[in-house]
Symmetry: C2
Subunit: 128 residues, 2 copies
DNA sequence: TGTATATATGATCATGTGCTCATATGTTAA
DNA sequence: TTAACATATGAGCACATGATCATATATACA
């Protein structure tokens, strides 16, 4: 077995490792899509919004209060989440009641929370 | 005038929703940690590196070839992944053999791939 | 020893992006 | 209607960050 040997570009006689990996990796497009999803989740404000909405529906105003941020910032971020189809809203009077719109994303966040806190967040109710 | 309140306290008929959610959300610190992890995964190059390393150990040179990027870029990104303790490396001669160093991250990526491709990537071997 | 290889890293630059401000739209109440 | 409320959004700015270039370090080989 020489799969873990030299496998560099032109200088190397057996770039097997690269070819083996290449044959098993997902397409570039898929990786970019997954990265795009993670990128959206990679902002404290946005993942906090999603986390909050996984507990209850909330309006812009509530989210601004909860996260101690301006209505404008929350609204801008909600727009990004809406565009990504991660949340949807329903008008109620002059308010906009937001809720999650993607089970997959919720699962991913739960998985991440569970793994990174080693015991999940369900039993971990500490507040800021 | 005290109408300068950015929050909804005064106008919201039931700020209970906010309190209920607040009592059930993870700490701000945890959310920031999770966001930081997602942020690292939110770059095509980095998640592609991690995805590739989940299949086999590879050196900088191999990754550069595989992802069609400069050695410098790969090395810079690997440094970020090393700092985040997502990968580790082992010197073999003049090469640096990289491998994953975090099972949690691998699980998160697998979860994301499975959910976002609706059937996982194990059977999806398309290349770029 | 000298040279090519392999990787690491600081500096620079260009781009991306989040926040704020100002403003617009729409809703409810007086 | 007018006024206050709730949200949306474009513009501008400040900051973060990824890619490139130049350079440094270290190893292998002739």
């Amino acid at each position: 077995m020489t799969t873990e040997k030299d496998t560099c570009d032109g200088h190397n006689p057996n770039p097997d490792a690269v070819e083996i990996v290449r044959s098993k990796t997902c397409s570039r497009q898929i990786m970019e899509d997954v990265a795009a999803t993670f990128k959206i989740l990679g902002e404290p404000v946005r993942i906090s919004i999603l986390h909050a909405l996984s507990i209850n529906t909330l309006c812009v105003c509530d989210l601004a209060e909860l996260l101690n941020m301006s209505h404008s910032s929350i609204s801008h971020q909600l727009r990004i989440l809406r565009t990504a189809r991660m949340v949807r809203f329903e008008k109620q009077g002059r308010k906009a009641l937001y809720r999650l719109d993607d089970d997959h994303v919720e699962t991913i966040i739960q998985t991440a929370l569970a793994h990174l806190t080693e015991d999940g967040c369900t039993t971990d109710r500490r507040n800021k």
